[in-house]
């Protein structure tokens, strides 16, 4: 019976349990729940493990697969490290929400049908919104609201797509499909919203940096990677994804280069990294899919690490802008080292996890002789080093001395960082366990002399470009307009304009109708009705006018219909 339970439910149930506990019990629970989930994830065999009937459909809420297990493992690991990182500092509501979010993401990774997938998909949105809100600030509230709305919009697109797909095929199974009809295009679009694909990508850098230090760590792992997972299952080899992915790669780099907020730099860099994965999915060969899966796994760890180090800085200094930071390596050595390890890993420096995962995608592009894709991916790799590999550690830990001398963060935070730093290097040195988890057999050898030389040249000369153009990279107190301008600036104004027009119109209709009535009937009633009083409208009168209007309209329509 136990293997029949969706493993994510452990975390979700735990989320409801957490607020009821306190003290040591709560801490023990925070650390134990993800590990229990991890155990459960590995106990689920391949194939459908549970079916149930819901509405008119037979669902498979739990279906084991290699790929699902890989993602679920990374999600559970992240929940553990994130829990450790947050256990003493974060509000309990934040950890609870984060666990619900993680549990739902694991639920998606094991969803065997589209309805289950959608259910967990929506639960993820709720969990993540609460994670953002737990920061308790006004800006977090507003950003969280925008975040939810964008995601629920994505959810709408997805739901319509799913229902349309079920109506067309009669099948609820979640399996490989092609974007060949409106409903499947909608499913693809719904997935891509969560992946941070254009044009709605702005939700990510908008919302994540507003959350609390530990909350951002949690957030970085689930939403986008779940999207990568579902794209990989549903739309592997869908050509358009190559270009979507490449756009994301360069979008992330360009915006990160312009950004001043350290966690927002990392947020753009998430889009950039997911871009690599999406490109891999678009290429769709076994090598490319292995690369995307491995990169997603590695990415969850090193991006978690980077955001932990940024979070540690924020927690210790209360500052988040690069213009306010700098020179922190003096007093925060552990954080600095961990941050650098994360930066190396994201740039796929040899001996880090990024090195053994990302270039599988480039290799796949090369094998398929996709010249343009290959060259762009190489340029993207260089750009990663530029914006995340150097820019982030340089402006936070080095550059000018900001005068700040905060100590390293509390033990649980640096323990979590050290764990992930260890994993980043461990997977880079000994990638066999990771390769063993990948969906297809791996025939890729990362450590060849050609690959090493290529990578060193590319990265070091990117570094040269950075230092040569350092004056150009000077931080400014600015933000960069993105698509969110439309719903943060333009739409609210439009709505306000429309709303005032709307109530004005209603008033006018009521007014005009009553004036008409007056014009017709005035002669009969003039003797007892002072001039002008009819021109005013009273609530009951106004409401009654609508009754009359509706009755008249329906009568006319019905008679006309009869006369035809």
């Amino acid at each position: 019976m136990i293997e029949a339970m969706p493993p994510g439910l452990v975390l979700i149930a735990g989320a409801f349990l957490l607020p009821a506990t306190s003290g040591v019990a709560r801490k023990a629970l925070v650390l134990a729940l993800p590990l229990a989930t991890l155990g459960l994830v590995w106990s689920i065999p391949d194939g459908p493990a549970l079916t149930l009937v819901f509405l008119d459909y037979t669902l498979t809420p739990v279906e084991g697969s290699r790929l699902g297990r890989l993602f679920a493992t990374a999600f559970a690991l992240m929940a553990f490290a994130g829990g450790l990182y947050a256990v003493n500092q974060a509000r309990v509501v934040e950890i609870a929400a984060a666990f619900a979010h993680a549990g739902s993401a694991i639920g998606v990774a094991f969803a065997g049908d589209l309805v289950t997938l959608f259910v967990f998909w929506e639960l993820m949105i709720i969990g993540s919104t609460l994670v953002i809100w737990s920061a308790g600030t006004d800006s977090a509230y507003r950003a969280g609201m925008r975040y939810t709305l964008v995601h629920l919009f994505g959810g709408i697109v997805l739901m319509i797509g799913i229902i349309g797909h079920i109506a067309e095929t009669g099948s609820v199974t979640f399996e490989a499909m092609h974007a060949d009809s409106l409903s499947r295009w909608l499913i693809l679009a719904g997935f891509l919203v969560n992946a941070g694909a254009p044009p709605l990508s702005a939700w990510l850098p908008d919302a994540y940096p507003e959350a609390s230090p530990s909350a951002t760590v949690f957030l970085s792992a689930y939403t986008t990677k779940t999207a990568v997972y579902v794209l990989m299952v549903g739309f592997a080899g869908e050509g358009v994804l190559v270009w979507v992915g490449l756009y994301m790669v360069f979008y992330g780099i360009i915006y990160a280069l312009l950004e001043n907020d350290m966690r927002r730099i990392l947020a753009y860099s998430i889009i950039n990294q997911v871009g690599f994965m999406v490109t891999g999915i678009g290429i769709g060969t076994q090598m490319a899919l292995n690369g995307s899966a491995a990169h997603a796994f590695a990415h969850i760890i090193y991006k978690g690490l980077l955001l932990m180090s940024a979070g540690a800085v924020l927690h210790q200094t209360g500052k988040r802008k690069c213009t306010d930071l700098g020179g922190l390596f003096r007093s925060m050595p552990i954080t600095t080292v961990c941050g650098i390890v994360g930066a190396m890993a994201i740039s796929s420096f040899p001996l880090t996890s990024g090195f053994v995962s990302k270039d599988m995608i480039g290799q796949a592009a090369g094998d398929q002789l996709l010249a343009l894709v290959w060259f762009l991916l190489a340029a993207g790799s260089a750009g990663v080093f530029l914006h995340a590999g150097i820019k982030f550690p340089w402006f936070v830990f080095f550059q000018k001395d900001s005068g700040l001398r905060p100590p390293d963060p509390p033990w649980n935070m640096w323990a979590a960082m050290s764990l992930f730093a260890f994993l980043c290097i461990g997977l880079g040195v000994y990638p066999a366990p990771l390769y063993a988890m990948l969906p297809y057999a791996v025939n890729y050898v990362p450590y060849t002399s050609a690959h090493l030389v290529f990578q060193f040249q590319l990265l070091l000369f990117s570094g040269l470009a950075f230092f040569l153009l350092l004056p150009q990279m000077k931080r400014t107190l600015t933000l960069t307009l993105d698509f969110d301008w439309f719903y943060r600036h333009f739409l609210p104004r439009l709505c306000r304009a429309v709303a005032s027009r709307g109530s004005e119109t209603r008033r006018r209709v009521e007014h005009a109708t009553m004036t008409r009535i007056r014009l017709v009937l005035e002669p009969f009633f003039r003797f007892h009705r002072p001039e002008g009083i009819l021109a005013r409208s009273w609530p009951t009168g106004g409401a009654t006018v609508w009754v009359a209007v509706l009755l008249a309209v329906t009568l006319v329509i019905y008679y006309w219909q009869g006369a035809r």
């Binding site: 312009l258 290959w374 060259f375 340029a379 070091l460 000369f461 040269l464 933000l479 600036h489």
Partner: protein, 89 residues
């Protein structure tokens, strides 16, 4: 690298002393040279021709990075706003 006044150097962290920085630059340039020189002994067997040229990753990485930085700056002139832009919602 930085334009700090040398006379305070003694009080500074060793990593940001002018001398250390100069040494780091020398080390960096040496590393650059070594990686390029490795092109003579390692066959990187390119697939598309251009990527087989001498020191391709080096010059390609440098050029694309310069291009990306310039591109970003150019875009920034259009899209950057004061960071209080959205505060008056």
């Amino acid at each position: 690298m930085s334009a700090d006044v040398p006379k305070d150097d003694a009080h500074k962290h060793w990593l940001v002393r002018t001398k250390t920085i100069r040494r780091l630059w020398i080390l960096f340039i040496a590393a650059l040279a070594v990686t390029v020189l490795f092109d003579f002994i390692v066959d990187r067997h390119g697939r598309f021709g251009l990527d087989a040229t001498f020191g391709f990753p080096a010059w390609y990485g440098l050029l694309t990075c310069v291009a990306m930085i310039i591109g970003a700056k150019a875009l920034g002139t259009v899209l950057q706003r004061e960071d209080t832009y959205y505060d008056h919602e």
